[in-house]
């Protein structure tokens, strides 16, 4: 499924009356697009202004010079290198963990008949119904008992495997033709071998979707880091941004620069992998 195709609309290319030289839809879409883009454009503009320009009324719409110096200033004001590293570790580990563990479990539920599998799957699904806030306090206590407070490990551990991922991959694996796996079994391949050599290569779209969903979610996660991270050394990017804003809350040019920096990785992912990004969002609706 790609959103690049345009389906024929009622009587597409058919006769009708046209009063304007352009489609009237532009009158609706152009203002909406403007409203959607203005905050982001403004963010970039402010990030390039001096403190005086940012703190002036009427606001400076077009700054006289481009003060790229805000960026290194923000970078150094708070340990942004740490922020990005921690986020990368957190999101990367969560993504890999999910891909590995959810594949294993998803495959087992999809293809292996084992004792208690139905009960276990229902239990997994049931956990999806419980909002994170219910798990928040006890998870905090568990991570504390593990000694992982204020560490990236503490961020990662609860997010290594999600019931959502198990469910999603199980559903997907079931759609693959079973004959391929049966042929491999007859050839003597082990169950693990079948998963790795046959099923996973065929599951790239689902794996990419799950990977992106998990990576983006972890990158943008705020509540959990807020709870367990206390120092800027171990803070991921979203938490780090609030530290920046807290310490420099009149220097909005700096804060905006920091915000732009925090968005660059996700923006890059979006622009490069637009199809996958959109597909993974649409997927949550198709399930």
């Amino acid at each position: 499924m790609t959103l690049e195709r345009f389906p024929p609309l009622p009587a597409h290319g058919a006769p009708g009356r046209r009063r304007l030289p352009f489609s009237p839809w532009h009158l609706f879409l152009a203002p909406v697009a403007a409203v959607m883009l203005v905050p982001l454009v403004w963010m970039v503009i402010v990030s390039l202004e001096t403190e005086q320009q940012a703190q002036s009324f009427p606001p400076v719409l077009i700054p006289s010079g481009l003060h790229f110096s805000n960026y290194p200033a923000a970078w150094n004001a708070e340990p942004f290198a740490n922020f990005f590293l921690n986020s990368a570790l957190y999101a990367g580990a969560a993504m890999i963990g999910n891909l590995v563990f959810c594949s294993l479990a998803g495959y087992a539920f999809a293809r292996i008949r084992f004792f208690g599998s139905n009960v276990l799957f229902v239990v997994f699904l049931a956990t999806l119904m419980v909002p994170f806030q219910v798990l928040l306090i006890p998870t905090f206590l568990i991570v504390k008992d593990m000694g992982l407070i204020d560490s990236v490990g503490g961020l990662i551990m609860p997010n290594l495997c999600s019931a959502f991922g198990v469910f999603m991959l199980r559903q997907f694996f079931r759609t693959l033709p079973i004959e391929l796996e049966e042929a491999a079994r007859i050839d003597g391949t082990s169950r693990l071998g079948i998963l790795v050599k046959i099923v996973l290569p065929l599951s790239m779209p689902a794996l990419a979707t799950l990977g992106i969903i998990q990576f983006v979610w972890s990158w943008n996660d705020f509540l959990w880091p807020l709870i367990i991270i206390n120092t800027t050394t171990h803070a991921p990017i979203q938490l780090g941004l609030t530290t920046l804003q807290g310490a420099h809350n009149t220097q909005w040019n700096l804060v905006m620069a920091g915000t732009v920096m925090s968005l660059i990785p996700m923006l890059a992912l979006f622009l490069l992998a637009q199809r996958w990004f959109i597909r993974s969002v649409a997927f949550t609706g198709i399930k």
Binding site: Q55, F57, L104, F114, T127, L141, N220, G285
Partner: protein, 311 residues
Amino acid sequence: MSAPATTLPSPRRQRVGAWRRIVTSEHLAGWLFVTPAAILIGVFAIVPIGWSLLLSFQSNNLLAPPHFIGLANYRALLHDPTFRQSIVHTVIYTVLFVPISVFGGLALAVALNRKIRFIRFYRLAVFVSLVTSTVATGFLFLWLLDPTFGLVNYALSLVGLPQQQFLQDPSQALYCIVAMTVWGWLGFDVIIYLAALQGVPADLLEAAEIDGASRFQTFRTIIVPLLGPTTLFLVVWSTINALQLFDEIYVTTRGGPLGSTTVIVYYLYQQAFQFFAAGYGAAIAYVLFVAILVITLIQLWLGRRRVYYTS
């Protein structure tokens, strides 16, 4: 002809054979595959669910040993005016956020589902806000809505309208949060609706055209009903997310001004992690859980009777 004599294997052989059967059996393989996920989900989801319930029956300040107080936390919630206010705020927010983002999403998806010039640009403009994290969105709007230096007040002044306090005005702050989160999430609804719109068979629309339906009638009588399952999903999904609002509140108003944006989850955060009343916080969480469950079930039940599934 007599059948060849058969002898049973020795007892030792039988035991080894049985063990071999178990070891090479599917059951072991299945459990081996599932164990990592089971442990992780067990420790980080199942145990917390139970522990949270237990906590809600305790007085626990995360430092001293907790003691059991039965339903006292829940009874206290019933009489807690701040909690009641947080429910009101959450409901107001949800009742505004869900229809605006879902039906706005539909309207935009219909507009974006055509082949006019710049359509790629328009689509990108709508999707891009999904890239922003909740924190980034909060900052963007905090600055846009700044009473003194914000762009929005500037725009108002150009048109001759009075300046507003926005996030610093107790009567306006919550509505600003609605606007902010709609901006951040609209793209999600649009993507899902766009995918659903493209799943509507083209010949149905042509048949409706020939049957005499105008574009709008086709939309109302054919497209909207066929989008029923999608709409139901988005309403349920948006409601669940709206009831759990937290990040944007923390980043912009911290529940203020004057507690006017304290929503349920924010109140939970305050109680559990600022006042260290963990048991109380757990009780709030459970109340929220039950509320979400009940509301979702009601929505699904209402939807089932109205929504037609083509399959």
